[in-house]
């Protein structure tokens, strides 16, 4: 029972991070039909640029409060990622908007390599210790379940962000333009929507979420390096597909579900495999799910919103 609750907390935490990243995938897919494989690497750029900011702040203002430091780090990491997202769209994807689908997909993979390589040049190949400004020491256990302050922070922050995003998309001028553009670029522009601006905005919002997710991820595990975006990126993509790519609610549901499956899987994999596998094999669950979804329900849990493009 305690293991169960413990895995539930762990799963929800990591699942929220996956969900934030998955939202970026799904928003871009919804509006362009493009899987932006470089999105996962924005998570890495977010984490490393936050790390860089923290190191700098620790040098110039050693007495600064951890919360202020974390906030400032986010205020640097988010714009950095937003600019990267904007630049990627402007320089690479926009030119390929009317190209066959394979071209932007391969370009996205190229973007991913490019970002990783640049990060490797800037920050080196080693693993960096990420300052855990919010404590990862568990609080007093409640009913035998340990929860850390950083987990609480992740859960609250991601819940707030997701609510804000839903309100943005469903209740505001920008969100309406996004939904109109996602349905039909041509008609949206004929009705006065500057679709290029809307698409750029979608990349920028997705990138901001990735930056936050990167800081969460690194804060939770205490480590950052140039390749750290790859795995969460793939898993968030899996989460987006699981929920139904192109669907915001689906990305959230898919992220949380994937986090839970992974967490429970890690907790019980030894028993399930009669001691043959241990919890370091937890990654297999994400990809088993991806396989199963693609075989049995390719439109995902909530179904891809298939729109007619003119």
């Amino acid at each position: 029972m305690e293991t169960l609750l413990q895995q539930l907390i762990n799963g929800l935490t990591i699942g929220s991070v996956y969900a934030l990243v998955a939202l970026g995938y799904t928003m871009v897919y919804g509006i362009l039909g493009l899987i932006n494989f470089a999105h996962g690497d924005l998570v890495m750029v977010g984490a490393l640029s936050a790390l860089q900011t923290m190191m700098f702040l620790m040098g110039v203002a050693p007495g600064m409060s951890p919360i202020a430091m974390l906030t400032l780090a986010l205020l640097v990491a988010m714009p950095v990622c937003m600019m990267l997202g904007f630049t990627m769209e402007r320089l690479a994807y926009r030119r390929l908007r009317n190209a066959p689908r394979l071209a932007p997909l391969i370009t996205a993979i190229g973007m991913s390599f490019l970002l990783q390589t640049i990060a490797m040049i800037l920050w080196g190949r080693s693993y960096h210790t990420f300052p855990q400004l919010i404590s990862t020491t568990p609080l007093q256990p409640i009913a035998g379940v340990f929860i850390t302050p950083v987990q609480i922070a992740i859960l609250i922050t991601s819940a707030l962000i997701m609510v804000a995003l839903i309100l943005l998309v469903t209740r505001t001028r920008v969100g309406r333009a996004m939904r109109a553009t996602a349905e039909n670029h041509k008609v949206a522009s004929l009705m006065g929507v500057d679709t290029n601006a809307v698409i750029a905005m979608t990349f920028v919002v997705g990138a901001a979420l990735a930056a936050v997710a990167g800081v969460m991820f690194a804060s939770n595990y205490g480590i950052a390096h140039y390749g750290m975006g790859f795995m969460p990126g793939l898993k968030a993509f899996t989460a987006a597909v699981l929920g139904g790519i192109g669907n915001l609610g689906g990305a959230m549901l898919g992220g949380i579900t994937l986090g839970l499956v992974e967490s429970f899987g890690a907790g019980y994999i030894e028993d399930l495999s009669f001691g043959f596998l241990n919890s370091s094999y937890q990654d297999i669950f994400a990809f088993i799910i991806l396989g199963l979804v693609l075989i049995f329900r390719p439109t995902g849990l909530l179904g891809e919103r298939v729109s007619d493009r003119a």
């Binding site: 505001t172 001028r173 920008v174 333009a177 109109a180 041509k186 004929l190 009705m191 006065g192 929507v193």
Partner: protein, 258 residues
């Protein structure tokens, strides 16, 4: 009479097909201007070039005294030209109200910062947009369907919603592409009253229509396209008797259109 839109020598080719050949026409402020012609005459192509959906191969549009941008649909909308579509193209997953509000996009300014901070300006603008959208739904007679997802509306209501969405862009010129297509007699009569009302409220109307009776009864002036060329432009009673027009429609030998 004040000229609102002037097309000067518009040409458009698709491969070897000349869809529009040196088409020039003048639309005056406040009139209902009809554009008729047999299928494939180039009417919708002219709409698409006018509204920036296609780039013309030649010629220019002068609107309200200055040249229209080509190939930039949202800027054309910004200048005050709105359209509907021959085959309805609503934002199908959005509600009727949201469709109209989306049409108001170009007249509003709220950006991401205003939205995130919920600035007073943003809230006020959103409130006015909502209010205006309800008014327009009421104007076309479907206010009771505001919350319905637009793909679930009846055919006639979808057509009316398209007009409301176009009016939300606050156009000087409203271009309607076969608005009566597929409508029954009652719906067509309602549509006619609506177009009359729109003109009465100061919006110039450009109308592509197959229903010759509707065109002749409603339009102040009519242009006829045939194989991408303008073959006539005058008041309906004159156009109706033009031998070239009769020839284009009926292949010659007949005296009257309709």
């Amino acid at each position: 009479m004040i000229t609102l839109l002037e097309a000067r020598g518009i040409g458009k080719r698709f491969g070897g097909l000349t869809a529009l050949d040196d088409v020039s026409l003048t639309i005056n402020k406040g009139e209902v201007y009809g554009l008729i012609g047999p299928n494939g005459a180039g009417k919708t192509t002219l709409f698409n070039v006018l509204t920036g959906a296609y780039m013309p191969d030649g010629g220019e549009f002068v609107f309200n005294g200055s040249q229209l941008p080509t190939g930039k649909p949202h800027k054309v909308v910004g200048r005050g030209i709105a359209r509907t579509f021959q085959n309805i193209r609503l934002f199908r997953e959005l509600t009727a109200l949201e469709n109209v509000m989306a049409g108001h996009h170009i007249r509003t300014r709220a950006g991401i910062w205003g939205i995130l901070t919920q600035s007073r300006f943003t809230r006020e603008e959103e409130r006015l947009t909502t209010e205006r959208a309800y008014e327009l739904l009421d104007y076309v007679g479907i206010a009771h369907l505001a919350e319905a997802v637009s793909k679930n509306l009846s055919y006639g209501d979808q057509r009316r919603l398209e007009i409301a969405r176009a009016l939300a862009t606050e156009p000087h010129l409203l271009a309607l592409d076969e608005p009566a297509a597929g409508m029954n007699a009652t719906e067509t009569a309602q549509l006619r009253r609506l177009i009359d009302q729109i003109r009465h409220d100061g919006v110039t109307v450009l109308l592509i229509e197959h229903d010759v009776k509707l065109v002749m009864g409603l339009c102040d002036r009519v242009a006829v396209l045939d194989f991408g060329r303008k073959i006539a432009e005058d008041v309906p009673s004159v156009v109706q008797r033009d031998p070239k027009v009769i020839e284009a429609y009926l292949g010659g030998g007949h005296k009257h259109v309709a």
